[in-house]
Amino acid sequence: MIPLSWYLALSATLFTIGVAGVLLQRNVISLFMCIELMLNAVNLSLVAFSRYLNDITGQLFVFIVMTVAAAEAAVGLAIIISLFRNRETLNVDEADLLKL
């Protein structure tokens, strides 16, 4: 059986890569993908704990996290489309005003 710490280490590595990506990328769609990466890293550690504690709750939590990620992606991409229509840009540095 693979030790729990391997999964947690991989999860932490993926989460940290996602954090670095949020700092590196300037494209708002790429930022979204980095956030998805972080969500998936957390999902991995939840499933690993669920397996090692032999408890179903972790996997149900992963299910809810996926639901929230889907909702977030739908609304976020709608906001991105609206932003692109109004400002003709996808750079987050350009989107710094509340008005059009």
Partner: protein
């Protein structure tokens, strides 16, 4: 088993690095799909079959198709030549990456992980990840979070439709409003023409 884990983990990490280092978002999206599929394989090694299946179907299937669709709809490649307003972030990010990784691994060393749960005949390991056990738990003990998630999805549908809808001229209802409406119609048309010329 360890070999499988190491291969999937290496695939996930390499593809994740590709996500954050790519300039072209479509390549990043493809790399993210590779990461998600590798994570689905890792869920299978953890005997979470249902989660692995919906990881591929919902995440790699539905959500990433949405991303790819939006990237192709907006034709993002024209954005690459824009100047960078915060160039120092490029130098802070690797430092923060290493610092955060070091912190996390220090926590791993400091905190002891729990021992694996005792397996018994009443609580065997292979039952945990099946659709049956997840369904039973979801519709009995966790039915309120499930319903809350469905309400959240409904709100997301309505919100996405309202946000992504194109603005239209107000509907004509009377002769008095007609002239005003026609005026605003011409204004919108002028705006659209101007936007097109700008493009």
């Amino acid at each position: 088993m360890e070999i499988l884990f190491l291969m999937l983990a290496a695939l996930a990490v390499v593809a994740a690095f590709n996500v954050i280092l790519q300039r072209n978002p479509i390549h990043g999206a493809i790399s993210l799909i590779v990461t998600l599929c590798a994570l689905a394989g890792l869920f299978l090694t953890l005997q979470a079959q249902f989660i692995a299946a919906i990881q591929v179907i919902v995440y790699a299937g539905a959500i990433m198709v949405l991303f790819v669709f939006v990237i192709m709809l907006l034709n993002v490649r024209t954005e690459e030549a824009k100047r960078d307003r915060q160039p120092y972030l490029k130098w802070i990010a690797p430092l923060l990456f290493i610092a955060l990784l070091g912190e996390v691994f220090f926590v791993f060393k400091a905190v002891s992980t729990p021992p694996p749960a005792e397996l018994s005949a009443a609580n065997p390991a292979h039952v945990i990840g099946t659709t049956e056990s997840i369904g039973q738990a979801m519709f009995s003990l966790y039915v309120v979070p499930f319903e809350a998630a469905s309400v959240l999805i409904l709100m997301a549908i309505v919100g996405a439709m309202i946000l992504a809808r194109r603005e239209r001229a107000p509907r004509v209802e009377g002769a008095a409003i007609m002239a005003q409406s026609a005026e605003s119609q011409t204004i919108t048309e002028e705006k659209e023409v101007a936007a097109g010329a700008h493009r």
